[in-house]
Symmetry: C2
Subunit: 479 residues, 2 copies
């Protein structure tokens, strides 16, 4: 076999998980390293995946009354400084514009690491009366955070995301919105990305800089590490006071609003790769796969094959993201490997013998199962199979999450579990920062969140200090 006929090998995840990840993201052309250190190029295949994810979230946001806007890329230093915790959290990792239009600027401008400050400055200008509320705005954009060690999708100096920013009349409404958006994150991740998550509140230590409370969804990767996949913050009146976001209330008195912010990013793509992928490469959930079915003609030089495959493709493309690969430079075998690597949910083979029998062959990426499907039933059957793959991928991921979750009552159990079955450790925690820090120091595991579902751990003593504990928390090593 010539080199052209081999799909480049991917390192097996058991041998070297980090290298497996790098191989998958680059060889499937999701992403490439750019010449600017820490910055990635999202290639067409990766971007198409992002567009599908975006479209789903965007629709869900809009259903709740959220509208999109666009706020400036650059933020004056004085704005960043207005909320004390916020500036401490972000200023070490921002990029500064100091010269522009041939001149040195009087005030440095940072490239947004997140946009609370610039958006709040506008909200302050727009808000007059309680009648104007709630403000429900979102933007899709890129942000820059100067990270030292970077990995495509997981941690890069620039990434794409959405950031929602709302203002409400009362603290309770802000809290309700914070949880509503968190629930959208959970639902879209589980239903569309087939990625089960643990939903809960972050500890004070892991709270967003300037937030009253931070909530997160946390997914679990094949290697047992957690990935924070979305966060929703109740900002209380921290930013509204710092930015003077006031309104005339129902009682005709001036009062401060309560704000929230919430975001998901291209990081989700990293999650999809590491939750579903295997040693053949990507495995994409049908609902977000750029190509849901790839039609590959067999013996395509023989009369009628290309015609039949083309006709089938045309039929399927009316309802699904279906494409044909009739490239003559590559063998069917090469293509099989190629599209398995790219994670296309269903491969459809059609050759002279199939045409004779009036059938085609479906091959599922999730199970490898082959199905012989009559041509006149292909459209309906593909719908069924894609749906079944979607459900099966979620089940498999959920099984993995459950299997990789251990319960620990003390640090011996904690460390043993983390070593023997890397993943989540569910344990009681007294709520003090010191125990949280010590656990990290001794095991590398961080407190992922305090789950809404507090069941499943007996006893009432802290896994670290043995003191009184009434909270269940999830711990894990994390990306």
């Amino acid at each position: 076999m010539s080199k052209d006929n081999q799909v480049e090998a991917i390192t097996s995840m058991e041998d070297d998980f980090a290298q497996w990840y790098t191989d998958v993201v680059t060889k499937t052309e999701l992403v490439d390293y750019s010449p600017v250190k820490g910055f990635m190029v999202i290639r067409a295949y990766g971007y198409a995946l992002w567009e599908n994810i975006q479209a789903i979230f965007d629709k869900e946001f809009k259903k709740t009354g959220v509208k999109n806007c666009y706020f400036p890329l650059l933020i004056p230093e004085s704005f960043l400084n207005k909320e004390k915790e916020h500036v401490e959290g972000f200023s070490p990792e921002v990029a500064w514009v100091t010269e522009a239009g041939g001149k040195t600027l009087e005030e440095r401008l940072c490239i947004r690491p997140t946009s609370e400050t610039i958006i709040c400055s506008m909200y302050s200008k727009w808000l007059k009366s309680y009648r104007d509320l709630p403000f429900l705005y979102n933007q899709w954009c890129s942000v820059v955070r100067w990270e030292k060690t970077t990995r495509p999708f997981l941690r890069t100096a620039e990434f794409l995301w959405q950031e929602g920013h709302t203002v409400h009349e009362t603290f309770e409404e802000a809290q309700a919105k914070t949880l509503e958006m968190l629930e959208i994150y959970r639902r879209v991740c589980e239903e569309n990305l087939a990625m089960p998550v643990v939903v809960g509140e972050k500890s004070e230590k892991e709270r967003f800089a300037g937030a009253h409370a931070t909530y997160s969804i946390e997914a679990l990767m094949h290697d047992g590490q957690a990935l924070q996949s979305g966060t929703s913050h109740n900002l209380g009146d921290h930013f509204t006071k710092a930015f003077d976001i006031k309104f005339l209330g129902r009682d005709n008195k001036e009062q401060y609003g309560y704000s929230t912010s919430w975001g998901v990013s291209t990081r989700l793509i990293g999650g999809i790769i590491m939750v579903h992928g295997d040693n053949k490469g990507l495995k994409l959930p049908p609902r977000i796969a750029p190509t849901q079915a790839i039609i590959i003609p067999i013996s395509q030089h023989k009369e009628g094959v290309i015609d039949a495959a083309g006709k089938l493709t045309e039929e399927l493309a009316k309802k699904y993201r279906a494409e044909m690969d009739a490239n003559e430079n590559y063998s069917p075998g090469w293509k099989f490997n190629q599209y398995e690597m790219k994670g296309v949910p269903v491969r459809i083979e059609i050759g002279p013998k199939d045409i004779e029998k009036g059938q085609c062959v479906f091959v599922r990426r999730d199970t490898g199962e082959k199905l012989f499907v009559p041509l006149d039933q292909a459209t309906d059957k593909l719908g069924e199979v894609l749906e079944d793959i979607q459900q099966n991928m979620y089940r498999m991921a959920k099984d993995m999450l459950v299997k990789k979750t251990s319960v620990a009552h003390n640090m011996d159990e904690f460390k043993k579990a983390l070593e023997e079955n890397p993943g989540y450790i569910k344990a009681k925690w007294c709520g003090c920062r010191e125990c949280e820090d010590k656990i990290k120091e001794e095991t590398g595991a961080t407190l992922r969140n305090i789950p809404f579902d507090q069941s499943g751990v007996d006893g009432d003593t802290c896994v670290y200090c043995g003191g009184k504990a009434d909270k269940v928390a999830y711990f894990a090593r994390a990306y």
Copy 2:
């Protein structure tokens, strides 16, 4: 009438066109000024308009095989310097990041003013064989150009756009792609934005920095000034040579590719405002209007009115972007003015008398015409009316463009026409830079383009120097 019942007045365009524009963009909440000088905030209404425009272009691009990607925001100074004309064109107006992550950078990074250089550096890495070609990629993003005098949408330090970047095997293919994308720009502008344009090639003076040839579509505003609304560049081998974009050709020899780039931006929104707007405010073409029909209940406190209006809205919203405004704080009269100002193509009134008669009232924004429509025909009728408005708006804009276009054979005619009927001057031009410069110096009019349609000007002498001239060119004062 209380102040609440008055829609804020818009300056009339005859009194002060610049102020009219500012009033329209801010009072309709398309945009707001940000605290960062020269940067605008695109508000929800403006962004919804942009999303509709984007969706149409994006679909058209994808039909031609173009795929979206995302390239880094920041570009190393050394990259910008690789193409001589390019750096001269752009370096005076870029913003420089010099500090990041708490350190001074070794090499300055500029925020992309356009992405030829960073994209070409990736293309150089990706391209191996003629089999890989063409490269057909686009990105939707924001760019920064440090402009001194800014106006929302028309000229701002940051704006949103798309930039397509392609590489081809031959010069001819690159030229064909350049013109194909230009034709998409023309078609989308005329058919969807109802904005007629003059299509042609830019003079050497106005060429994109580093291009072999630049083509443009040029729209004409109410005040007789032209607006460059989209450009498409055949970059020849200028960038492929500077960035070493080579491939093994069909003859097994290494050769350079030929590239193109093309873009439209949020500037189009400025065009829509100034082509269609009137003294009542915006007038939005139905195909891109965020709200195509606004349903306003009359005497909404009376029994059955809100129900009937709600039912009608629900029915219409299945097929159109239709919304009801049942806000009790404002009178119907206030709402009429408000939605006229916002340019909603059709207002639908429904009150107790209408309900009795089983009808509603359509009021067209373009003509002010009232139509009494039986409720059971509202869905079909709205489709017809929206389509008719779309066509009528194009016709009105086209009439304006034709009326504001004069032919000149010498500078006396040129100056007289420009004074008496500000707009396009069609004239023969000898092709020399000096005449072009002198015309600008004496009249403020610049050469917009050399139209593909060369008809309509008799004689063969240059409007400025009287020398031999075989080209027809469009001149106008421009934004």
